[in-house]
């Protein structure tokens, strides 16, 4: 069934399956990113607290450990059900290729297990472990985040760049090499991009909470540290992310030309292609865009007249929905650049006076940095996923051929969407409640930890 314009999918079951997967992943990715980045922030605060006998820093680490535990719980359950959905929704991926991409998932399971154990140990260790050992338990948490994200990104990169098997004359998958699949050509850059994104999301998000506090007049040492530690981490990641993003985009010219063309909204392969800001592709024509001559070619090839691929580099039925990809990509780039500007603003002020900027505008913008980073991550993810369409395994399996034949996915997609909307609202409410309790100085119990009311 041909798709409708603007990436609307005509087949309702396929649309529902893709939508359910998108919302499940899109929800989980936020918590996964926080699970990777938040432990690093907590580690820095904890280290500072011990090294400089800084009570405020240590107090922050303690509060953050509680927030981290709650967010990790949501991440754990939303991640668990993804392994259900891989099989429920995409038999045409998991049936033929489950053995090819299984290994990274297995190893991710190990990382998740270690992360879950050490988060519990850290949370419970505040009054049970010797201080030194307690501090050290943060390191496996950070390491598990770094490792776990590699494994998941390796599986995703494999879908963009399938490797580690051969296809026999009868169409069967042969000579499966799980290591070659795991270390496929796309994994290095995709993983680095995601890891930096996770640090940006966590850093800007935590900092934005304290930016709100700053605007409300909470400017004591604890709040200052609560802003500076995560903001600095995110600010270090931001410029690196721009460099990695550039590499990631340029890699696509050869690896996935149609994805590149959709991102840049280029209908035709040409030399000296313009950079298209905004705009939509309607009936093969770019409409309503601001075009900067030759810039797409320069960014892609480092030559003003370099030839970059257009959508016409692949047959029509292999082209991704260009408008969705283009808009998502540009939103990501715009927000990423904005965050970089904010990071530079901070860096200049810090370099001059060893203090964050005083301008109220900096702080106002900083309150939005967390949400901006999340949107940038989500749109980046939409860019890579939708940009891969119509393939679920690039060049080999079409998404239409991989989807379940079961009917009724519209219903499960609806229920799961409502569930995640509700869960999102409750999560925010609980986080606000935690912040309130922290602000009022009420030392709340460790979440589901051994409370004082427990019987002896």
């Amino acid at each position: 069934m041909p798709d409708l314009p603007f990436g609307i999918i005509a087949d309702a079951n396929l649309a529902a399956a893709r939508y359910q997967m998108a919302i499940s992943l899109g929800f989980h990715i936020i918590f996964a990113a926080i699970g990777i980045g938040f432990p690093v922030i907590t580690l820095i605060a904890h280290r500072r607290g011990l090294k400089h006998r800084d009570a405020a820093a240590l107090q922050l680490a303690k509060r953050w450990s509680k927030v981290m535990a709650v967010l990790f719980a949501v991440g754990a359950v939303s991640g668990t059900i993804l392994s259900f959905e891989m099989g429920i929704l995409w038999p045409g991926l998991m049936g033929p290729y489950g053995d090819v991409i299984g290994l990274p998932f297995a190893l991710e399971g190990v990382s998740f297990f270690l992360e879950a154990i050490f988060i519990a140990v850290y949370l419970y260790g505040w009054n049970r472990l010797p201080a030194r050992l307690h501090y050290l338990t943060l390191f496996p948490i950070v390491a598990a985040g770094i490792a776990g994200s590699f494994f998941i990104l390796s599986a995703n990169a494999w879908m963009n760049s399938p490797a580690g098997f051969t296809i026999g004359a009868d169409g069967s998958i042969q000579d499966v090499n799980p290591l070659a699949a795991m270390f496929n050509p796309a994994v290095g850059i995709q993983y680095t991009h995601m890891l930096l994104a996770a640090y940006m999301v966590s850093g800007f998000l935590v900092a934005s909470v304290y930016a709100v506090g700053w605007l409300k007049g909470r400017r004591d040492r604890l709040h200052r540290l609560g802003f500076v530690i995560p903001f600095v981490l995110a600010s270090i990641a931001a410029p690196l992310q721009v460099l990695v993003g550039d590499l990631a985009t340029r890699r696509l010219i050869d690896a996935q030309p149609a994805k590149f063309a959709a991102m840049e909204l280029l209908p035709e392969t040409e030399g000296g292609a313009p950079l298209t800001l905004g705009g939509l592709l309607i009936d093969g024509e770019v409409v309503g865009a601001l075009e900067i001559p030759n810039l797409a070619s320069f960014l892609g090839t480092r030559s003003w007249d370099g030839v970059v691929p257009g959508l016409d580099s692949v047959p029509v039925d292999e082209q991704p929905p260009a408008n969705v990809v283009h808009i998502a990509f540009q939103v990501m780039v715009a927000l990423g650049s904005g965050l970089l500007v904010l990071a530079i603003w901070f860096a200049i002020a810090w370099w001059r006076r060893r203090d964050p900027p005083t301008s109220v505008w900096f702080w106002r913008l900083a309150t939005g940095a967390g949400v901006a980073a999340i949107i940038a991550m989500e749109t980046g993810w939409i860019t890579t996923e939708v940009g891969r369409q119509p393939w679920i395994v690039y060049g080999l399996v079409r998404t239409t051929d991989a989807v379940t034949s079961a009917s009724g996915i519209v219903l499960s997609a609806t229920v799961i969407s409502l569930l995640y909307i509700g869960l999102g609202i409750v999560t925010i409410a609980v986080l606000r409640r935690m912040a309130k309790r922290f602000a009022s100085g009420e030392d709340a119990p460790a979440p589901y930890g051994p409370g004082s009311a427990v019987s002896r």
Partner: protein, 361 residues
Amino acid sequence: MTLANVVLVVIWLGVTAYGLFGGADFGAGFWDLFAGDAEKGARVRTFLEKTIGPVWEANHVWLIFVLVYLWTAFPEPFVAIATTMYIPMTIAAIGIILRGSAFAFRKWAATMQRQRALGATFAFSSILTPFFLGTVAGGVASGRVPLGNAAGDPFTSWLNPTSLLGGVLAVGATAFLAAVFACREAAVAGSKELGEYFRKRAIGSGLIVGGVAGVGIFVLAADAPELFDGLLSLRGIPLMVASAAGGLTALWLLYNRRYSVARLAAVVATATVLWGWGAGQYPNLLEPAVTVSDYAASDTVLIALLLAFAAAALLAVPALGMLYSLMQRGVLGETGSETGESTESLLRTMLAEEGDQRRGT
């Protein structure tokens, strides 16, 4: 023994671990639901929360492990199960989300009313999830999942006598395990009252589950003849006998308040049911004749899985040991560690010093 068989055994170890540890977590939710109103049940609920608090997230790993190893080692049978069973699996997945998040949020709820709503969500979904996972098991065991993309009946594959038996047994076993474990935890914590509370419930649920399992044999004879024949084979009979013996021993030990050993007997009684199912169905993953050897991935893949399993065991076992020893310490007393000053007391010292400085200036 072929590599595929070794991997299958490893997967079944995962199923067992999820059944026992994950099961006990679900069972805690079961008893939470029936603990009475907010005031009367507070003591029981707090106690249950404490016993599962640190481990429940980590226990998801067994489920993830089973799913991932199944799809890697036996991809086609895995997608056959997932696509045919998408309704109960989706409900179980929703149960997992609701349960985990409600549990994590409950403590932070601002009002008693909200706390109760979250608590009820946690408890109710703790029953929902094992029930629907049990119906999936029943459908697979009774040969209702054919190979292919959603090739089985979307409803009767899990709405049938064996599935119902599977669901009820799963919920019952989680409740029984949780109650037995709670007896022991209560004893360690020195609470006689809670010990008696759960002793009664452990014996009661044990009798019910044993009864259901006994009747279940007849259900299987009528509804799942292949499995029934397998259970009556030389592979199946010892496991069934062991399960019955384990169950009876557990009840006797519970009656005599020997909770520590009762735990082991309860574990044997439950684990042997899972292994009985596996042994009864072997060598077929699915009916008819979708065998382990025919549908396994290549040896390279299986070896990679086994190496990953070995690495996991090497890393995770010491870490898990650390967590459990911490929990025991937590149950014994929260005064801090004997081996050195805790971070908490360090923080208190620092705050006191700061206070002194402020007063001094």
